[in-house]
């Protein structure tokens, strides 16, 4: 057995639970991560001592709450290496962030048909319109596909797809041909939520920028697992969810380069995103509040900051190394079990391993594995085009986080063997 480098299970109360009389082996981290005690207590403490709506009141609680919310923004900024707090927009999650961006990139109401607002601030050049192209990849989560399908339909733009190799990696060979002068945006996931393949994002960004295209990176499966530095990636937008990185549900981040965000209209309007309003018009707030209409989920933002501090205490590089070791061990153990197919193989992986047991429906396998106390996910994982690429209806996905250890992987292997013996 390999030595895992981190020993963190005791930080996560839920991991002490038993499932069907067996200790829980939680390997569904790509769906959501569990929460460390420090985050749980932070949220509880926030409601006990600090809760008040932000940016509205002059009373002390509101000021404290607002300060914590803006501190959280600063914590996020530093965590992903953004240059400026104005570049950090809080959203409800990754899906929400991508939808917000898709609206902002395609719904600018400049000109005579725009009765309200101060549209003159925005650049109509930044809008995606008829004949423009958006390039996605064949491995995207539905959340990084459907908003772009919709935008293309609304605006008469064209959705192009960067195909995959047989092994599930991006077909990069003729990338300079695939990104054309008409390409306005490349939307790509940093890490596949199914195969765990890490994409060559820097290379894609270089090619895209050479052609004047913007790049959105879906970081939902990356931020909790590896050091992420948006400045060195040089992507224009980077999005992720709090709940997949040990924070509460209902908080996410849209990072955008300030110059890019400045060009975009707010995708939604309402309280909190304005500096003045008349019955006929409005003056909008500066970044990032312009994109945060309505009461934001400030308690969840506070929890996100706490989760980030937790990650920083451990160190993202250590987490990456620990998970790499485990990931390798998991693939080795599955191969050792045999009688199964692992989908996707790349020079770099993170988090998830996708596989099917020969002749066994993933759903059946998942049911047996659950009874063995092993939590994995089965189905299409919100990535049906990728399922079609591998010519399967679904698969089993085991996905790691920093608290997993070799014991969890041994339990996975044991559960797989049990499923095979019962169903094979």
């Amino acid at each position: 057995m390999m030595n895992a480098t981190l020993d963190l299970k005791s930080d996560f109360p839920i991991l002490a639970r038993e499932i069907h009389g067996r200790p829980l082996a939680y390997l569904d981290n790509a769906a959501t991560t569990q929460k460390p005690l420090c985050v749980i207590e932070r949220v509880s403490n926030f409601y006990r001592t600090r809760n008040s709506n932000i940016h509205r009141g002059v009373h002390s609680l509101s000021e404290e709450s607002s300060t914590l919310y803006e501190d959280a923004r600063e914590t996020v900024r530093a965590f992903i290496g953004a240059g400026d707090m104005r570049e950090i927009v809080f959203t409800a999650g990754t899906t929400d962030a991508i939808n917000l961006l898709a609206r902002a990139l395609g719904d600018c109401t400049t000109g005579g048909d725009a009765p309200f607002g101060d549209e003159t601030r925005y650049s109509s050049d930044a809008q995606i319109g008829e004949g423009d192209e958006i390039l996605v990849t064949g491995m995207e989560h539905h959340s990084n596909l459907l908003p772009w399908q919709d935008l293309c339909r609304r605006r008469g733009a064209v959705l192009r797809v960067l195909p995959l190799e047989r092994n599930g990696t991006l077909h990069m060979e003729d990338i300079s041909r695939r990104i054309t002068s008409r390409t306005r945006l490349v939307a790509v996931t940093h890490v596949s939520n199914v195969t765990g393949i890490v994409n060559p994002v820097e290379e894609l960004v270089r090619h895209a920028h050479d052609r004047g295209a913007l790049v959105l990176v879906d970081g939902a499966q990356a931020v909790a697992h590896m050091p992420v530095d948006v400045a060195s990636l040089d992507c224009d937008f980077y999005v992720f969810s709090g709940h997949k990185m040990f924070a509460e549900n209902g908080i996410g981040v849209l990072y955008g380069k300030a110059a890019r965000l400045e060009e975009l209209p707010p995708a939604r309007v309402g309280g909190g995103m304005v500096t003045s309003v008349t019955l006929e018009s409005r003056r909008e707030a500066d970044l990032p509040l312009r994109f945060e209409a309505g009461t934001p989920n400030y308690p969840a933002a506070v929890s996100l900051a706490e989760a980030i501090r937790y990650l920083q205490r451990i160190g993202m590089q250590r987490i990456r190394e620990h998970e790499n070791t485990l990931h390798e061990y998991m693939r080795e153990q599955l191969v050792k079990v045999g009688g199964l197919t692992v989908y996707g193989s790349a020079p770099e992986h993170s988090g998830s391993v996708a596989f099917n047991l020969d002749g066994i429906q993933p759903y059946d396998a998942g049911m047996i594995m659950d009874r063995m106390g092993v939590a994995v996910r089965t189905g299409t994982h919100c990535a049906e085009p990728l399922m079609r690429h591998f010519d399967i209806n679904g698969c089993i996905r085991a996905s790691l986080a920093l608290y997993n250890d070799t014991d969890d992987i041994d339990r996975l292997a044991e559960a797989v063997r049990k499923a095979q013996s019962m169903l094979g």
Binding site: Q361, Y363, D364, M367, I368, R371, M422
Partner: protein, 137 residues
């Protein structure tokens, strides 16, 4: 036999299997014995949506009784279908629509009925009952 009598019979049979694994082994065996995959049934028009595994269901009336056919690509689901059809097939539709269904609970499959459960046993039961309702009155 009535729907209740069949349910009681199933409960008695399944109670021989003490732990969960035995019960599931039994379900899987039932699934295997449920018959060869039926291509005339495995068609999109018969597919019940909302189940993670593919489930197909058809019904027709014969001599005033509801005749059901079903299939799934999941062995465990086939096992459950075998039990459900044993209970509901060849019964008057009115009885199928209204019968109290208690055997799933009694044999420890209750958690599979919850709406959040992706396997959709609850969805299958609802589909059978709706079909029955269409054939009543």
């Amino acid at each position: 036999m009535t729907i209740a009598e069949i349910q009681d019979q199933i409960i008695e049979e399944m109670s021989a299997h003490e732990d969960w694994f035995d019960r599931y082994e039994a379900l899987i065996t039932l699934g295997r014995e449920f018959g060869a995959p039926d291509d005339s049934l495995r068609r999109d028009e018969y597919r019940i949506s909302g189940c993670q595994s593919a489930v197909w269901l058809t019904a027709e009336m014969r001599d005033g009784r509801l005749r059901l056919r079903a299939d799934s690509d999941s062995q465990i689901t086939r096992g459950m279908l075998a039990l459900l059809l044993r209970v509901f097939d060849d019964q008057p539709p009115g009885k199928v629509a209204d019968a109290e269904l208690y055997f799933l609970d009694a044999i420890g499959l209750r958690s599979n009925l919850s709406p959040s459960r992706a396997n959709g046993l609850g969805t299958i039961v609802r589909a059978i009952r709706e079909t029955a309702r269409r054939h009543t009155g």
